[in-house]
Symmetry: C2
DNA sequence: TCTTCATGATCGAAAAAATCGATTATAAAC
DNA sequence: GTTTATAATCGATTTTTTCGATCATGAAGA
């Protein structure tokens, strides 16, 4: 079975069916009459069917030719649509952007980010996923995500990493806790032992442990929080103290509670918020744009 | 706005989206990997959009690439259908055949012809038009008809003419008409004057006039028939006599009436039934096939 | 009847493109 | 450290496309 080689030939046929005149049809295709003649002939040869009845006086479409022209019209229009589709999709910050965000960032950074994006780039549609860093990165590699918003340090040398800003860890405890008397505090061994952590998998757990100068810790399952919100609840209930990102505090995580916060003495432990993408991503420009939006939000958020 | 140049490139994209591997995709397209690489690159350049994310380890479709692949699939399938359509249509005696037939042939020849065609060529769909010769020929020239079944003599030098068989004219009159005593008769001057004719435009009118040795005749409008059937009715009503094609008699035109028929003395006036088509018709083979079918029917129809 | 005009087919040359084979580069696997 | 798998790249070759010129032919006009 032969197959169509060229869309141009279909265009020729279409043009002939409109003009019923080879010379004018050729003109409208910006080729010479001989080119069009040859092209149409080749199409007819490919299909081994006469599509156009012609002699030196008259040009007539055969019934098959008319039907083929109709089909050609629809094929060419689909091809045009395809081009138009990519033209629209290629616009920066438009189309669907699949963005992953870790749970210790999402509730605090996402609401203002989404709002700002909607305003700045109405063509952009965000498909969001909140998940642990490891899952996000594996989805990133698998092509199910375009970018991810995560916290460093984290091993991601195989990715494009765009660090955005540092997010300090603050100590959170109950009012009256004698350990939190000073304006800035150090994490002592004693405090480390009272430290409540998020459950395994959250990068913030590792960052907190690092701040406690402890690389690992046996997990007391019943004393681990599943989210920053539950962590706060546990602190308030007197289970211990916690290390919470400044970002969360800024966005009002402990508002309405009786807890107090203390920055840690310099060099204070921090995590670094970063935007990552596959090295081969076609959206490098969008990565920059998104980074700018998030940074702008960060600078506008009032400090503690 | 750029436009797609090649369907092959769409095929490449599709193949890559299936294999997620350039080398194997290339194999399945029967080209080398370098060819496929170049083709895909050109497609991406044409669309100025990354469709496939790739490095030396992994191949991933971009979201746009996936959508484009989907569209490519539908375009390629439409192209395939187009080819398949012509392949089917090009089969001899298939598709739509637009056939014109004059009113003095249609009622007699068409029923058995259609029946035979349906049996012999079930793929063939007849689009029939019953009309005067002049109208049929002009539609033929205009490409609205593929063939016509007419009666000669008629000026049609610009057409392919396939004479089928001669159709003698018989005299029809009332039983007891003394002019019709002999087994074969001559058209006398007196008979000519009683001759009932079809209205202007029917070629049979001219053929009858020729048999009467009269080239023209003033039309007595109220004494002209609009069809052979009405002509017969008028004869029966005693308005005169008529010249009727043998074909009509064979198919039972005067069955049930009291009329009698007489052949004319040799050389008896005849019309010649012929199949005509544009010189440039792509259905010359079908013309022959149709001619054979009609001839076969004619030989099987019992003589008078 | 002869000439001119309009038109599609055809041919050879030139230009453009597609394709291939070989090579390179690179990261992963062993 | 070597091998393997893979896509990009390059130059040469082949194939295709395009053009311009010419031919052939029927119609229209003189």
């Amino acid at each position: 079975m032969p197959s169509l080689s060229s869309l141009k030939q279909l265009q020729y046929l279409l043009s002939v069916s409109e003009h019923l005149n080879f010379t004018r049809a050729a003109e409208s295709c910006f080729v010479t009459q001989s080119t069009l003649s040859a092209g149409l002939k080749e199409l007819e040869d490919t299909l081994s069917t006469r599509l156009v009845e012609r002699d030196r006086q008259t040009v007539l479409m055969t019934p098959v030719g008319l039907e083929v022209a109709q089909r050609a019209r629809s094929i060419l229009s689909a091809a045009k649509d395809l081009v138009a589709f990519t033209a629209e999709a290629q616009a920066p910050m438009s189309g669907i952007l699949r963005l992953g965000v870790i749970p210790t960032i999402a509730p605090f950074l996402l609401p203002p980010t989404v709002k700002a994006l909607r305003k700045a780039y109405p063509q952009l549609r965000l498909a969001l996923r909140e998940d642990l860093t490891a899952n996000l990165l594996s989805r990133l590699e698998g092509g199910q995500l375009d970018m991810a918003l995560i916290a460093l340090p984290y091993e991601c040398s195989h990715l494009i990493v765009k660090p955005l800003f540092d997010d300090a860890l603050w100590l959170v405890g109950r009012k009256g806790d004698t350990q939190l008397k000073a304006r800035t505090v150090n994490v002592t061994q004693a405090m480390s032992e009272q430290m409540l952590l998020l459950e395994e998998g959250h990068c913030l757990r590792e960052h907190a442990l690092y701040a406690c100068h402890a690389s690992t810790r046996a997990s007391h399952n019943d004393l681990e929080a599943t989210s920053l919100l539950t962590l706060i609840q546990m602190i308030e209930s007197g289970f211990g103290i916690g290390l919470v990102p400044e970002m969360a505090l800024r966005s009002g995580l402990i508002k309405g509670s009786t807890l107090i916060t203390r920055p840690l003495t310099k060099p204070s432990p921090t995590r670094t918020i970063a935007l990552v993408a596959r090295r081969s991503t076609p959206r490098q420009a969008d990565l920059e744009s998104l980074a700018q939006v998030i940074l702008h939000i960060q600078t506008k958020t009032p400090a503690l």
